[in-house]
């Protein structure tokens, strides 16, 4: 069941669009913000409010890479793998990050601390290589800087 807070936030979005269906992406983001990810229960809860089938919602959810249909760790790290960052040393940073965390892209550390994902161009090419941690941007990365940032991920 949607919490009162989730429901209230989703209903506030409804005022901005002429159809209920149009709110579904925002609704999934709202549920994700509260629960960390969008589970099958989350999909069902949203579907009931918006009058959409779980299949329709899942079709939308799986299209968008910022909607998580699997649990993620306390911190989500997204390393830019697009062209400017690749030129500026993405391969080395990827090797460093996967080594430090002991996981590959798409995985979460066993202590549930970090999930590591690739991301397309973050629009920070003047500061390449770049990544985000919990949607906060970090630029001009090198292995030392990454180590310091990882220390802050508790």
């Amino acid at each position: 069941m949607l919490t009162a807070e989730e429901r209230q936030e989703i209903e506030a979005e409804m005022a901005r669009y002429p159809t209920k269906e149009a709110v579904c992406i925002d609704a999934m983001k709202i549920v994700q913000r509260h629960r960390g990810w969008v589970s099958d229960d989350g999909i069902r809860d949203i579907g009931e409010l918006l009058g959409m089938s779980p299949a329709d919602l899942d079709g939308v959810a799986t299209f968008y890479n910022l909607i998580f249909r699997k649990p993620v760790g306390r911190h989500v790290i997204m390393l830019c793998d697009s062209v400017s960052c690749w030129i500026m040393g993405y391969d080395r940073l990827r090797a460093h990050l996967t080594g430090r965390l002991g996981i590959r892209f798409g995985e979460t550390t066993p202590d549930n601390r970090c999930t590591l994902l690739p991301i397309v161009c973050l629009g920070a090419c003047e500061g390449a290589p770049a990544m985000t941690i919990d949607n906060n941007l970090h630029v001009n990365l090198d292995p030392d800087k990454i180590d310091k940032l990882l220390e802050e991920c508790k």
């Binding site: 269906e21 997204m78 697009s82 062209v83 030129i87 161009c121 090419c125 003047e126 390449a128």
Partner: protein
Amino acid sequence: MTLEKPLTKDIPQDGRGLDLEGYQRADGYQALRKALRNMTPQKVQEEVKDSGLRGRGGAGFSTGTKWSFTPMGADAPRPKYVIANADEMEPGTFKDRYLMEGNPHGLIEGMILAGYANQSDVAYIFVRGEYKLSQERLARALAEAYSAGYLGKKILDSDYSLEMYLHVSAGRYMCGEETGLLNALEGKRANPRAKPPFPPVSGLFGKPTIVNNVETLANVPHIINHGAAWFQSLSRTKDAGTKLYGASGKVKRPGLWELPMGSTMREVVEDHAGGMLDGLRFRGALPGGASTDFLTEQHLDVPLDFTEVQKVGSRLGTGTMVVLDDQTCPVGMTRNLIHFFAQESCGWCTPCWSGLNWAEQILDALEDGGGKPGDMEKLEFQTKFWDPSHTFCALAPGAAEPLQSALKYFHEDFERHITEKGCPFRS
């Protein structure tokens, strides 16, 4: 003569965004007052058309012409929509982020003017999810604009009303494609739509919809304030205005500069970006993001505008270039680009989802030592299927551009990957 930089001159250098007070001090919202008091919607459309403003998202279509397709008058379907495409996700591109963070009101005023010109009722700013600072600054600016009476019912006591909302996307490059964006706003997968009908006639929820890029819209207040002739005088070539040019890759000072339209790659790379890092030579560049053909040393003095870049076989695109140096592998760079397009294909058109994956596998093999004679011909063959007559949208045609030009300009590097069984740059 000092260079005129209408888009960036008022952006504080210390990283703070321009708030409403600062924007108003810099003549902000004067164009809106002028239009609402003294200009009909048709007159605003004409001024923008006469200015020669062309779409800064990459396609370069005349903004005024796009607007002229909107059904006007009492019989026009309602509500009509105006949308800012702020889903900047073209690899190598970071210009719209700079404008939204630095001067969010400039975009908002441009959107209200576009809304007035097309008599739109509702506006959405479609911003990508990763642009957190842009979202914060736009949200604050929207609140400021509403409380100052620039948005909402009867704007500045005129008869014109416009509601404007911020939509934060949940990802995918396809959302930047005009009709994919419309589907995303409707809560669907961002697949492209068949055209015609074009969005100005039938767009969001089937209603007339104008979709313009952030930089395009940010130019509109200045055109209304200073006129079409002034806007044309900013440029060195026939394509009017200034342009935000950028450079990334192994240059000394990667960054972004507002320069007269028609500035050259040599000026951007050598004068503004400070040249290549020590010990490296310039080998080529994607002039305007991932989906533009490589240009090389012979093109350094080509004026970077829509018309002239097209004459030498590429596109201005977003105007933010990605520079290739002589110690970075052009085959590896092309593999990275094709990986991006293959991943971001929405799966709607077969030449795109199938062909891009096939090409990526060949490029992987070339880089990893499994390249075979005939691979280049196979890649060349694939690009022929990625043209606009075979696909609904410009994703695959965009992917063809860096690949076909890499095969042309870096032919020997591809050969060496086959004969030397791997990437010669990795040794």
